[in-house]
C-alpha cells in the first residue's frame, strides 16, 4: 500500500487551528482543501494561513469551499482528513456521518480535540473508520508551537498511527508525542491543573501580584493569567470542567473552579477576545487588573519583591541556578507561593509518567509537550535549575508533596539543558 499523504482535507478551516494546520500542509506543496460552513469562512482561514507562512504562494495548494458544494468530492480525494470543527460532540458526530459516507477506505481521520472523548466520537462508526481514527492535538499557534499529541483508541490500526506520525514529523515538522487516550492528554492536563491552582490564589493576592510572582522568570514565555486571557476564560472553564468530570480521584477537588471565574465570564470578561479578562488595557493605554472579589478593574500596583528581582537580575546574566538558589531560600508567603507552584508542576508532571504518556518515555514525552506546546521550561529542566534530584526531593518533602517516581539524574547540565534556558525570561 502507498502510504504517502498527497491530499488533505481540513474540516473547520475557518477556525484558527484548522486553517493554520492546513497552512502547514500547503507549505509542503501538498494539496489541501479548506472546508467550512461558508466559502467566506474558508477564505478567512486561507488568509490566516498565508499570514502564518508570510507568503501568498501557498494559496496555489489550497482549494477553498463550503460543505454544501465541495465536501463530497474533497472527501473522496483525501488521504488524510483533519477534523477541526467546533468542540461539540453532536456537531462532530454529524460531520462524521458525512465523512463516513464519502471517504475512501484507508483515509485517516485526525480530530484536533483535546477535551472530547475519542471513544464517544468514534461510537457507532464503521470498523474501517474506527481503525483509521485518532486524535492529532495541535497547539496554538502551530507556526510557533510545534507540539502535536497523537492519541489512539483501542480500535486504531497501528499502521494509521505510523503513517500519521511520519507525516506530522517529516512534513509538518511537529514534535510528535504519543499520548494515552486520557482527558486533556498530557499538555492540557498538566497546564490546566496548574492554571486552576493559580487562579485560586487570585482572590487573596490579586491578579497582578500572582502573575508577577509566577512570571516569565519562572520558566514560561507568558505569565499564567495572561495566558488564560489569551486562551479565553470560557475555554479555560470548559477544559477545566472536562478534566474535572473525567477525574475520579483527588483531582476532582483540585479542579474546582474558583467562583469568581464564573462571575467574570457572566460579566463578559473573557480575556483578549472581549478586550478584558484578568488584564485590561484602558483607552488611555493604562493597564488595570481584575479585582476577583468585586469583579471590577483596579489600578496596577507594580509589585516589587526582593527575591524575584534578584532572580531576574541573575537570569539577565545567564546565572540560572544561582537565580533559583535565591528562590529556594526565599522566606515569606510570596516565596511559598512560587515554591508551591514549582513543586506542583514537578510532582504532578512526574506522577503522570505512564498515565498520560508511555512509561518507557520517562519524563521526556511530557517535557516535549510542555516546551513545544506551551513554551514552558520542562519539568526536568525545573528540577535541574532547582539544584537536581536531591534538592527537589527535599523541597517536595518539606512541602508535603508525595515524591513521584521517575525523577532521574536531571542535576547534570547538558547542552540540551543550556538550550532550555531560553524559557527563563528576565522579566
Amino acid at each position: 500500500m502507498d502510504n504517502r499523504i498527497r491530499t488533505v482535507v481540513v474540516l473547520g478551516s475557518s477556525g484558527t487551528i484548522g486553517s493554520l494546520v492546513g497552512g502547514l500542509v500547503a507549505q509542503n506543496s501538498i494539496k489541501v482543501y479548506f472546508l467550512s460552513r461558508t466559502l467566506e469562512g474558508a477564505k478567512t482561514g486561507l488568509r490566516r494561513a498565508m499570514t502564518q507562512a508570510r507568503s501568498e504562494v501557498i494559496s496555489r495548494y489550497i482549494e477553498c469551499g463550503d460543505y454544501d458544494h465541495l465536501l463530497e468530492s474533497a472527501l473522496q480525494d483525501a488521504d488524510l482528513i483533519i477534523e477541526s470543527i467546533s468542540e461539540n460532540l453532536e456537531a462532530k458526530k454529524a460531520m462524521y456521518n458525512q465523512v463516513e459516507r464519502y471517504r475512501k477506505p484507508d483515509t485517516i481521520i485526525g480530530t484536533t480535540t483535546s477535551s472530547l472523548s475519542l471513544s464517544a466520537l468514534a461510537d457507532g462508526r464503521s470498523p474501517d473508520f474506527k481503525s483509521h481514527f485518532l486524535a492529532t492535538h495541535f497547539y496554538n499557534p502551530p507556526g510557533r508551537m510545534r507540539a502535536c499529541e497523537v492519541a489512539c483508541t483501542e480500535a486504531t490500526d497501528p499502521v494509521s498511527y505510523d503513517i500519521i506520525k511520519d507525516f506530522l514529523k517529516n512534513e509538518l515538522r511537529r514534535e510528535v508525542v504519543a499520548v494515552n487516550n486520557v482527558p486533556g492528554f498530557a499538555g492540557n492536563r498538566i497546564a490546566f491543573v496548574l492554571f486552576n491552582q493559580i487562579t485560586s490564589l487570585v482572590e487573596e493576592y490579586g491578579a497582578e501580584q500572582i502573575d508577577y510572582l509566577i512570571g516569565p522568570y519562572t520558566g514560561r514565555l507568558m505569565p499564567p493569567l495572561r495566558t488564560i486571557d489569551l486562551v479565553g476564560l470560557d475555554i479555560h472553564k470548559a477544559i477545566v470542567h472536562n478534566l474535572r468530570e473525567a477525574s475520579h480521584d483527588h483531582m476532582y477537588e483540585e479542579l474546582a473552579l474558583p467562583g469568581y471565574v464564573d462571575k467574570m465570564i457572566n460579566a463578559g470578561f473573557l480575556g483578549d477576545k472581549t478586550k478584558g479578562g484578568f488584564y485590561k488595557v484602558l483607552e488611555s493605554g493604562k493597564q488595570v487588573f481584575i479585582d476577583a472579589l468585586t469583579c471590577n478593574y483596579i489600578p496596577a500596583i507594580a509589585p516589587h519583591v526582593a527575591f524575584v528581582e534578584k532572580a531576574k537580575r541573575l537570569i539577565h546574566l545567564g546565572l540560572y541556578r544561582e537565580a533559583f538558589e535565591g528562590v529556594k531560600t526565599a522566606n515569606g508567603r510570596e516565596g511559598e507561593i512560587v515554591k508551591d507552584i514549582f513543586c506542583k508542576y514537578i510532582a504532578y508532571s512526574y506522577s503522570l509518567i505512564g498515565k498520560v504518556t508511555k512509561c518507557e518515555y520517562g519524563i521526556a514525552g511530557i517535557d516535549k509537550v510542555m516546551t513545544t506546546g506551551f513554551h514552558w521550561a520542562a519539568p526536568s529542566v525545573i528540577v535541574n535549575v532547582l539544584g537536581g534530584k536531591e534538592a527537589v526531593i527535599d523541597l517536595l518533602y518539606a512541602r508535603g508533596f508525595e515524591i513521584p517516581d521517575g525523577i532521574g539524574r536531571e542535576d547534570t547540565i547538558t547542552e540540551q539543558t543550556l538550550r532550555s534556558m531560553k524559557y527563563f525570561i528576565a522579566r
Partner: protein, 410 residues
C-alpha cells in the same frame, strides 16, 4: 613555527532562533552559554586554557557593551589574569578572532585558546540596526542617510554580474531556497521552521518585497542573536587531549590552510579596480587561492563541502565562481546542475548559511569553523555531508573588504 599545526577541538553554537533581547539577557549571558556549552561538548579542562579571543562587530552600537574580552573572568575564575582580546573586522570578526588565536599558537605562545564569536542584534529596530551595520562600509560615503545600505551594495554586486556576464534572478531565488531547505536540517538554524520555496523566493509579493535594487527579502540573510565558542590548540596540547579522550590525533581536525586579504573599503572602487580582471572581487578570490595553496588543495573539487558567506544571495552567487566551481560569470551553471545542493558534487552551506542558519555578524566566522569541524568529524547530525574530510569556509567583512578563507580537514 609557520609549519606548526593548529587543531580545532570543537565547540558550541547557541540556538540562532533565540531572541536574547526578548529574553532580556545581557550579551555576556550569550557568551557564557557558548562557553559552558563548549566545555560540555569538548570536555576541555578550563584550567588548560591559555588565552581567549572574542570576535564581535558592534557590541557598543547594538547593546552598549564593548570590551567583551573582559567578561571571561565572570564565566570562570580560571581566566583570572589570562590575556583576552576582542577583535573586529565587521562580518569577518569571528574569523579574524580565530586567525589571531591561530597566530599565537603557531608562534608558540599558547597551546589552547578559546575563541568566541558573538553578536546581539535584535535590540534595535530594523532601520536603526541597518544604519549601524552601515559602519561596516565606508559610512559617510556609502551608508549615511540610506535606509538599508548593505542590501543596496550587494544588489550592486548582482548588477555588476548582470553587466559583465548576464544574471537571471531565478538563480538567486534558487540559492535562497537551497539555504532555507538546508537550514531545516539544522537544529540551531534561525529559519528552521520558516516557510520558503523557490516560487516564493522568485516572486515579488506582499511578503517578499524589494528591499533595494534586485534584492528582495528572500535574498537577505537574517538579523540574528548568537554566539559560538570553539577551541584552537597546538599539536602538543592536541596530542595530550586526544590521548585523554582515547582518540587518534590523526582524526583531529586541523586548520590546513588559510587566506586573509583586505580590499579597498569602498565598493565602487572594488568594482572599478576589477574591471579588467577575471574576477569581480579579486581579493576574495585571492583569500581562497591563498588558503588552497597553504592547504595543498589543487582546486575546489578536492573539497567535500563549503560553508560560505551568503549575506545576500548575490554574495553566494559570487562565491561559486570565486571558489572555482565554474568559470567566472557562470555560477548559474553550478546552481542549475544541482552541484551546490546537499547530495550534489560540492554542497554549499549544508548548515543553511547566513540566509538559513542566521547571521549574528561577529559570530558567523566561528560558526562556519565549528560547522566545518562538525562536518569533518561526522558530527553534523542531520546536515552531515557523507564522508566529508575537507571543508572550506569563506567569511567576508563589509562589501568583501575583509576576506578570510579557512580549509579544515583531518
Amino acid at each position: 613555527m609557520q609549519n606548526s599545526k593548529v587543531y580545532i577541538l570543537g565547540g558550541y553554537q547557541t540556538d540562532f532562533a533565540r531572541n536574547w533581547h526578548t529574553e532580556n539577557k545581557h550579551i555576556s549571558a550569550m557568551m557564557r552559554e557558548a562557553y559552558l556549552g563548549s566545555l560540555i561538548s569538548t570536555e576541555v579542562e578550563p584550567g588548560d586554557i591559555d588565552a581567549a579571543f572574542v570576535g564581535n562587530f558592534a557590541g557598543e552600537l547594538f547593546c552598549m557593551q564593548g570590551h567583551l574580552g573582559a567578561f571571561f573572568i565572570n564565566f570562570d575564575t580560571c581566566f583570572a589574569g589570562l590575556p583576552t582580546s576582542r577583535i573586529e573586522g565587521a562580518c569577518a570578526s569571528g574569523s579574524l578572532a580565530a586567525l589571531s588565536a591561530m597566530a599565537y599558537i603557531k608562534a608558540g605562545f599558547y597551546d589552547l585558546v578559546c575563541v568566541i564569536g558573538v553578536e546581539q542584534m535584535k535590540t534595535l529596530s530594523p532601520d536603526k540596526g541597518g544604519d549601524f551595520l552601515g559602519a561596516a562600509a565606508w559610512y559617510e560615503k556609502e551608508a549615511n542617510g540610506i535606509e538599508f545600505p548593505f542590501p543596496k551594495l550587494f544588489g550592486k554586486l548582482g548588477d555588476e554580474y548582470d553587466k559583465r556576464y548576464g544574471l537571471d534572478d531565478k538563480y538567486l531565488a534558487r540559492i535562497s531556497e537551497i539555504n532555507y531547505r538546508n537550514a531545516k536540517n539544522n537544529p540551531n538554524a534561525q529559519t528552521r521552521d520558516w516557510f520558503m520555496s523557490f516560487e516564493h523566493a522568485n516572486t515579488i509579493g506582499a511578503y517578499n518585497i524589494i528591499v533595494s535594487g534586485r534584492i528582495k527579502i528572500a535574498d537577505c540573510s537574517q538579523v540574528t542573536d548568537g554566539a559560538v565558542a570553539l577551541y584552537l590548540a597546538s599539536e602538543k596540547f592536541t596530542n595530550e587531549y586526544a590521548n585523554r579522550k582515547r582518540l587518534s590525533i590523526n582524526d583531529m581536525p586541523q586548520i590546513l590552510g588559510w587566506g586573509h586579504t583586505t580590499a579597498p573599503i569602498e565598493f565602487a572602487q572594488k568594482l572599478t579596480d576589477s574591471e579588467k580582471g577575471k574576477y569581480v572581487l579579486p581579493f576574495t578570490r585571492k583569500a581562497i587561492t591563498d588558503a588552497f595553496q597553504r592547504a595543498g588543495v589543487g582546486d575546489c573539487w578536492e573539497l567535500d563541502c563549503i560553508e560560505t558567506h551568503d549575506c545576500f544571495t548575490t554574495t553566494e552567487y559570487m562565491a561559486i565562481d570565486h571558489f572555482g566551481l565554474t568559470n567566472p560569470g557562470e555560477s548559474w551553471q553550478a546552481i542549475e546542475e544541482g552541484i551546490i545542493e546537499l547530495g550534489g558534487r560540492l554542497p554549499m552551506n549544508p548548515s543553511g548559511g547566513l540566509i538559513g542558519c542566521g547571521h549574528p555578524v561577529g559570530a558567523t566566522g566561528t560558526r562556519q569553523l565549528l560547522d566545518a569541524y562538525k562536518q569533518v568529524t561526522s558530527t553534523a547530525g542531520s546536515y552531515q555531508v557523507a564522508g566529508a574530510e575537507k571543508v572550506a569556509t569563506l567569511n567576508i567583512g563589509g562589501t568583501a573588504t575583509t576576506n578570510v578563507c579557512f580549509i579544515v580537514g583531518t
